[in-house]
Amino acid sequence: MTRDSMLFLGFIGIFVILNAILLVGGYLDMSWTSLGVITAAGLTVSLYSFLYRDNPLFKLAEHIFVGVAAAYIFGIYWYQSLYGEVVVRIFGIGDDPATMTQRLLLLVPSVLGLLILTRMSVKIGWLSRISFAFVVGVGAGFTIPRYISAFLLSQIEATIRPITMDVDGLNLLLILIGVVSVLVYFFFSVEHRGVVGGISKVGIWFLMISFGASFGYTIMARLSLLIGRIRFLLDDWLHVM
């Protein structure tokens, strides 16, 4: 018996005994909610076992996670899109029948969706490119003006302000230097030497300082997630808090 198998069996044994104690002791009752808590606790511990190394427990949890997520997403696609939007409306099921124009309009995305399925055929697989071209083209068409507005104009508008001789002015000056130097760093057609190299180095400093701040901020948020999980294990499952 390998070490991993022993670990797997050991965990199962301890897990079963622990839950039996919790059930007999009345900490958990024989309900669906308790079954959910036990399942969630088992999967949480199995996923955390990856901190030790890859093992059968993690593999089991990973495969359950991937399978359940795929089924869940399929359920959402089916009920919200395929059945909820297409089948119900085109075949007039339910209390809200669609008009003929709405049905005809629904045929366009439906046909584009079906064209993707032609990929399964070698002969007519090229038809799927029509759908992909549509998705990429429409996506780019919608995205580019939005990017110009949100990332270009908004940024410029916030940067081009009167620089005053006070703390706000200093703040604005820092932002101005940061924006310009970072923009210079992202110049690709000039070698980063001399003046350009110096300015781009300032840009890198600005980037790294902002990354550091962002890193710390996110780690704090992740720690709160960890605390939430530990609290679930100790309180909702083991009832020791």
Binding site: R53, A70, L153, R161, V180, F215, T218
Partner: protein, 403 residues
């Protein structure tokens, strides 16, 4: 007697003062017009700015007929009433805009709900002011709501987009005739190193897509890089595995890798099963990719696209396996995690520049050059605009405002 006289005096004062106060709040002539830059079914009602006295309310009534009945369409407290200057994109800037209240009306109240305005139908409007329960209505004015084909508020967006497009097209044309220089990007040169290492070790290269769909710029850039990576893995006869989160991204990736293998004359080496959806949920995707990283131990992990909270999970696990890791993302919040756990990181626009650098295709090189020219213009506009704004001429700031 004296008390009764005082009461009479107070009542007399109230009778004199109340109408005077109300008159002070009475809106003079209001005006109505089609709401500019909209899809229709809305009119804009304006009236001169009054004193922002607490307890004073402006009421806007709308009727489909000049003789009425007039229905309440909007009610706004005087201190909270917007002025035209609050929406400079549609109404411009200036003293007049600062001295004029406005409200956009798209429907009005009926006994059994609200009635939406309809395009190309005339509506009659009157503005009233209410103070201490007394309401005084202004003159009737009219407007016809229309749908506008062009949104002039976004003209700067259109001009910048068009100008950048023209610059990029001109640069592409130039790149077809002339060799263009692109500075060295360390992260990209490392891709060759990573592929070479994988080939020497006889191990796979794992290309991990981000979580966004095919219509996002970062995903398009990632697919472009994938094409170049696939060309090299086909040449080196190295196994390439591509994990996707989205089925459409998977299909496009299959197409891209297949083309790359055919281009270098190795269609036999292409295996569609190596490009797959690893998970359809954020963390199940991360768990599946992590599992593959530790079990299959690829020699190189190339993570490109837009990532969310799973970035650190992926990069940290990949780092533990000892593989060369190259990441590229324009997700600002995830860049710190890639910078700390990967050997090389393509930051933001470097991701977009990557495919041009790798392929040396004139189309992409020209595009990159065009973007650089655009950036030079922006830097000039920012510096010059700041100087002018500081000197009291903010017209560049206004011209480049987002609406």
């Amino acid at each position: 007697m004296r008390r009764r006289a005082n009461r009479g005096l107070t009542a007399l004062c109230m009778a004199i003062l109340l109408p005077a106060q109300l008159l002070a709040q009475t809106p003079p002539k209001s005006a109505a017009s089609d709401t500019p830059n909209d899809a229709g079914a809305s009119i804009t009602v304006t009236w001169p700015r009054g004193e922002a006295v607490g307890g004073t309310t402006y009421l806007v009534y709308v009727a489909a007929d000049e003789s009425g009945p007039f229905h309440l369409a909007a009610e706004v407290e005087a201190p909270l009433a917007a002025v035209l200057a609050d929406d400079p994109g549609n109404f411009g800037r200036g003293e007049e805009q600062d001295a004029t209240h406005y409200v956009n009306v798209s429907d009005y109240a009926l006994d059994d709900g609200r009635q939406s305005l309809e395009n190309d139908q005339i509506y009659y409007v009157r503005v009233a002011v209410r103070t201490d329960g007394m309401e005084l209505r202004g003159a009737i004015t009219s407007a016809v709501p229309e749908a506008n084909l062009i949104n002039t508020a976004k003209l700067n967006n259109f001009v910048i987009g068009t100008a950048l497009s023209l610059i990029i097209l001109a640069s592409i044309s130039l790149a077809r005739r002339k060799e263009m220089f692109i500075r060295r990007i360390a992260g990209l040169e490392a891709i060759d190193e990573a592929l070479g290492r994988a080939t020497e070790m006889g191990k796979a290269v794992m290309f991990v897509h981000g979580l966004r769909e095919m219509d996002k710029i970062s995903t398009i850039a990632a697919v472009n890089i994938l094409g170049q990576v696939a060309r090299k893995t086909a040449q080196y006869d190295t196994l390439l595995k591509v994990t996707s989160y989205d089925p459409v991204v998977m299909s496009v990736s299959q197409e891209t890798v297949k083309e790359a293998y055919v281009e270098v004359g190795r269609p036999d080496a292409y295996n569609e099963d190596n490009i797959f959806v690893a998970g359809t949920d954020q963390f199940s995707y991360a768990a599946a990719v992590e599992g593959m990283m530790v079990r299959e131990r690829p020699a190189a992990h190339i993570m490109m696209g837009y990532f969310y909270a799973e970035s650190l999970l992926l990069a940290e696990t990949g780092s533990m396996t000892g593989a060369i890791q190259i990441a590229g993302t324009d997700a600002f919040t995830q860049l710190p995690f890639f910078v700390t756990t990967c050997d090389y990181t393509l930051m933001g626009e470097e991701l977009y520049a990557a495919s041009a650098y790798l392929s040396r295709e004139p189309r992409m090189l020209g595009s990159l050059k065009g973007q650089d020219i655009g950036k030079a213009f922006l830097i000039a506009a920012i510096l010059f605009g700041s100087l002018l704004a500081t000197a009291g001429w903010p017209f560049i700031t206004h011209a480049l405002a987002a609406h």
